[in-house]
């Protein structure tokens, strides 16, 4: 399902921590701050709940950009959660960049419950960056040596 750039809308995934970033996103809502509708939000209890498996699966399943958002270090509802996120995320991002995923596709951001404006800005900028970058070429290619199912199919005899 490759999409030519013209009619393609970036699909973004955001893992938002429940106590800060998700609350910040809600605040952007109550303040009626407008931003593009490309972001699909997945709520997590803490940014430290996000595993690299989720990020990679999201990219594989059609996400063109992945955001991991949490509280500012020191504000974490669980005290230390985002300290681990900070370390893990840097390792994941550098690893993915090394393996050929454009670094701009995966980003982290500290957004507190009071920063509705920042959430709006982060989403808007992220959509623009990805729109410029184009679709992520991480589509599930079919590993078969053969391209599957031509339209017409001959009846398969039995090999002697």
């Amino acid at each position: 399902m490759n999409k030519s750039k013209r009619d393609w809308e970036p699909r973004l995934v955001g893992f938002l921590c429940n106590w800060c970033s998700y609350a910040g996103a809600d605040l952007a809502g109550t303040s009626r701050m407008q931003y593009p509708p490309n972001m699909r939000v997945i709520r997590v209890p803490c940014s430290s709940r996000v595993r690299p498996e989720f990020i990679l699966r999201a990219l594989q399943k059609g996400a063109d950009g992945v955001l991991v958002a949490g509280c500012h270090p020191g504000d974490c509802h669980y005290t230390t959660g985002n300290y681990y996120t900070r370390r893990r995320f840097q390792v994941i991002k550098r690893l993915l960049t090394f393996l050929g995923v454009d670094p701009r596709r995966v980003m982290a951001s500290w957004i507190s419950a009071a920063e509705g404006g920042k959430y709006q800005q982060v989403v808007t900028e992220f959509v623009e960056t990805i729109r410029e970058l184009g679709p992520c070429d991480f589509r599930p290619t079919n590993g078969q040596i053969f391209v599957p199912a031509a339209d017409e199919r001959t009846d398969l005899g039995v090999v002697s």
């Binding site: 078969q144 040596i145 053969f146 398969l156 039995v158 090999v159």
Partner: protein, 336 residues
């Protein structure tokens, strides 16, 4: 003396290139640091008489293959089978052991009225050109009754005659190949070198069958780390598992992928695993290859290509296991 065809080695690529419109050319060529069978644009890229790291099995029974996709929406369930697209292929350069392996796989996937549509499709549209092999490290094909010059299983077989190739067709597809290119008819004797062997004897198969409970299997179990390298490079390993990949909430596809008895989860069923550790698993591999063999044709599942010996990170060697089985229990060699 039999009637053969001869061509100069340097003219072989030109001959093969003739067939490129009709067939897709396949053969051994370097891929990264390893030799593998794969498609080539020009016959000159092919490397003959070389042992690839993994076998040609991938061409007929790929490591991952979508069987069918399904979609469930308000109109009900829609199923469509994903049969492979059928393209004629010309596979050049299989040594005798790989040819024998193809026969084994044909038995497993093709015979007995229950042809596997995925395997058969690909196999049926592929013409196989065998080439005499230069014996190398870890080979033991002679133990299974054939040598580097045994043509069985090929549509066309090329024997090494110094600066020329001697060829003989064994099917009309093979014969048709000879109609193009500057082949000349000759009368020559077909070389019939005996291959390396002397490891697996009928006696060792019998001893292995008796020694199911021999404690020496545990020594092997300690050394086998449970990876799938041996099985996945083996030309005759054909076990597979089936799994589903969802497409969103409405449908998905069912695919099959290689599996191996070396893996821990291979026999895990409903929380119980009859083979709890590697001892049972390495024993199953050796027994299935050498002793149980292929129940459909009661021939050994091993073709002596030695790829598993080369691939094993722990240095386990199926040849030594067979030889060890005939040795008396008292002197236990390190290798076993």
């Amino acid at each position: 003396m039999t009637e053969l065809w001869r061509i100069k080695k340097c003219d072989l690529p030109a001959w093969l290139n003739i067939w490129r419109e009709e067939y897709e050319l396949w053969g051994a060529r370097p891929e990264g640091p390893v030799m593998r069978y794969g498609p080539v644009a020009d016959a000159t890229e092919l490397v003959l008489q070389v042992r690839t790291r993994d076998s040609a099995k991938n061409m007929f029974f790929p490591a991952t293959e979508t069987m069918f996709s399904f979609r469930h929406d308000e109109q009900g369930l829609e199923l469509n089978q994903q049969l492979p697209e059928l393209k004629a292929r010309l596979l050049v350069g299989l040594p005798s052991c790989d040819l024998q392996a193809l026969l084994v796989m044909d038995n497993v996937f093709g015979g007995g009225g229950h042809a596997d549509p995925y395997y058969s499709g690909r196999r049926q549209y592929t013409v196989v050109v065998g080439v005499a092999c230069e014996p190398g490290e870890f080979f033991f094909c002679q133990d299974f009754g054939f040598g580097p010059d045994t043509p069985t299983g090929a549509d066309l077989f090329l024997w090494d005659d110094g600066s020329n190739w001697l060829a003989q067709a064994f099917s009309e597809a093979g014969a048709r190949l000879l109609q193009a290119g500057d082949w000349e008819k000759v009368q020559a004797t077909v070389p019939n070198r005996s291959g390396p062997g002397g490891w697996v004897s009928a006696d060792s198969v019998a001893r292995l069958r008796e020694r199911f409970d021999d404690p020496r299997w545990e020594r092997l179990g300690e050394r086998c780390l449970g990876c799938g390298a041996c099985a996945y490079v083996c030309p005759t390993c054909h076990c597979f598992d089936i799994d589903d990949m969802p497409h969103g909430l409405e449908g998905g596809e069912r695919y099959r992928r290689w599996d191996t008895c070396a893996f821990a989860g291979f026999t895990a069923a409903a929380g119980h695993n009859p083979r709890p550790d590697q001892t049972g698993r390495i024993r199953q591999r050796v027994m299935h290859k050498l002793v149980y063999g292929d129940f459909r044709s009661d021939r050994s599942l091993c073709v002596g290509c030695g790829r598993c010996v080369a691939a094993c990170p722990a240095g386990i060697d199926i040849r030594a296991i067979a030889r060890e089985a005939v040795r008396e229990k008292k002197e236990v060699k390190a290798g076993a």
